[in-house]
């Protein structure tokens, strides 16, 4: 048993390929058996991953899901930022420049609209919960943008660590909800073509959420959504501690 564990730990990434492969296989089987293929296998796989991450988090008290379990550390490498970005870029292979150009302007509009609208939603909820200082309201609003914009903004304007933690939690909720919710609402919001996918990426902005949500909806939309989403966090970090903070400070 100890020997097995040592082998698994020493070959973490390779173990992750096995584990994820089995998970995907089980998910496609479940998708066929239980939902007759109505819920796509990749959506089931993402959901299983999130549930496993929750259980692992309770058990290890860590913050990286199953990657905090020694023998499964490779899942953290396979699903980490480096491999995620490598995978996302590869999906652009075969994308037509003309589609990107066609939705260029509307893509830019959607990024700014997405950052500002999410920020307002977060800030209003913070006010309703009794936060009245500009720093807390801004930081929680920034958390609604993404879980990176929240702490970057909070640190820059000197919010309390408790509020910063809240902003991260809000951002993580958003990211997970986009992963799970996108396939459910895709048809209703017209998410079936490159242009709406670019708008979607710009509005949601959370790279992980958009990556997961579109993969579970229609993998062909991934490159278009990812293209705009990757600018979102940067724009959020730009606006959060500056313009948006000044506006909040003037209002409260």
């Amino acid at each position: 048993m100890e020997t097995l564990s040592a082998v698994l730990r020493a070959n973490a990434l390779v173990v992750a390929f096995t584990v994820v492969g089995i998970t995907v296989w089980v998910s496609y089987w479940l998708s066929r058996q239980l939902t007759a293929g109505r819920i796509h296998g990749s959506a089931v796989a993402i959901l299983l991953g999130l549930v496993a991450a929750y259980i692992a988090g309770l058990y290890t008290q860590g913050n990286r899901g199953v990657a905090d379990i020694g023998v499964l550390a490779g899942v953290g490498i396979m699903g980490g930022g480096m491999m995620r970005d490598f995978g996302i870029v590869s999906t652009a292979f075969g994308v037509h420049l003309s589609e990107l150009r066609k939705a260029g302007l509307v893509g830019v509009i959607s990024i700014f609209a997405g950052v500002i609208v999410s920020f307002i939603v977060g800030a209003v909820v913070a006010l309703l919960f009794g936060y009245t200082d500009a720093e807390s309201v801004t930081t929680i609003g920034a958390g609604a943008v993404t879980y990176i914009v929240g702490p970057v903004t909070g640190t820059a304007i000197g919010a309390s660590s408790e509020v910063i933690a809240l902003s991260v939690a809000a951002g993580v909720v958003k990211s997970i909800l986009v992963m799970v919710g996108t396939p459910m609402v895709a048809a209703r919001i017209g998410l079936n073509n490159p242009q709406s996918a670019m708008v979607f990426g710009g509005l949601m902005g959370t790279t992980s959420g958009v990556a997961g949500g579109l993969a579970a909806t229609d993998p062909r939309l991934v490159p278009y959504g990812a293209m705009t989403a990757t600018f979102y966090t940067g724009i959020g970090c730009l606006l959060g501690p500056s313009v948006l903070y000044f506006i909040v400070r003037a209002l409260v």
């Binding site: 994820v20 995907v24 496609y28 296998g41 796989a45 299983l48 991953g49 999130l50 991450a53 988090g57 913050n63 990286r64 899901g65 990657a67 899942v75 699903g79 980490g80 491999m83 970005d85 490598f86 996302i88 870029v89 590869s90 292979f93 037509h96 990107l100 509307v106 959607s110 939603v121 909820v125 913070a126 929680i140 609604a144 970057v152 939690a169 993580v172 909720v173 997970i176 909800l177 986009v178 919001i189 073509n193 490159p194 242009q195 709406s196 509005l203 949601m204 790279t207 990556a211 997961g212 993969a215 993998p219 939309l221 991934v222 990812a226 990757t230 940067g234 959020g236 970090c237 730009l238």
Partner: protein, 137 residues
């Protein structure tokens, strides 16, 4: 050679991330601004250019297509390494902020999509190839 395609892909990513990092510094933000998006643009340009044809066709192209096909498994691994406990433990405030932000953003998708030229819906998606093969068998 498969490695040529993989190397092209890797070069695009690193170059894009570098530019994104520089852009972040230029704007004075502690974040990478659009690095992955820039990398994707580079790959799109490279795959359309005639000079790079040998890097993106045949076996070299398979080197890129392989990673493209690995994308969903990578996303599954990503989902399994999220801090789901923090999201659940964030309490009502975090939950409400996250849920409302997503709902409002979802609602805006059709509104903003209406600006600008329309693009055609993609043809319906076939279940994965191995599924189709299974049904056929």
């Amino acid at each position: 050679m498969i490695i040529y395609g993989v190397a092209l892909l890797a070069t695009c990513l690193v170059a894009g991330l570098y530019v994104g990092e520089l852009l972040g510094q230029l704007l004075g933000v502690q974040a990478n601004v659009g690095g992955v998006g820039i990398a994707m643009l580079l790959l799109v340009l490279a795959s359309g250019s005639s000079r790079m044809k040998s890097l993106v066709t045949g076996p070299s192209g398979d080197g890129i297509r392989f990673w493209s096909a690995m994308y969903i498994p990578i996303v599954v691994a990503m989902a399994a390494s999220q801090n789901v406990v923090a999201a659940v433990d964030g309490g009502i405030l975090a939950l409400l902020v996250g849920v409302l932000a997503v709902l409002v953003s979802f609602a805006l998708v059709p509104l903003i999509s209406r600006i600008g030229p329309r693009s055609e819906a993609l043809p319906p998606l076939e279940q994965d190839a191995d599924d189709a093969a299974r049904r056929g068998a």
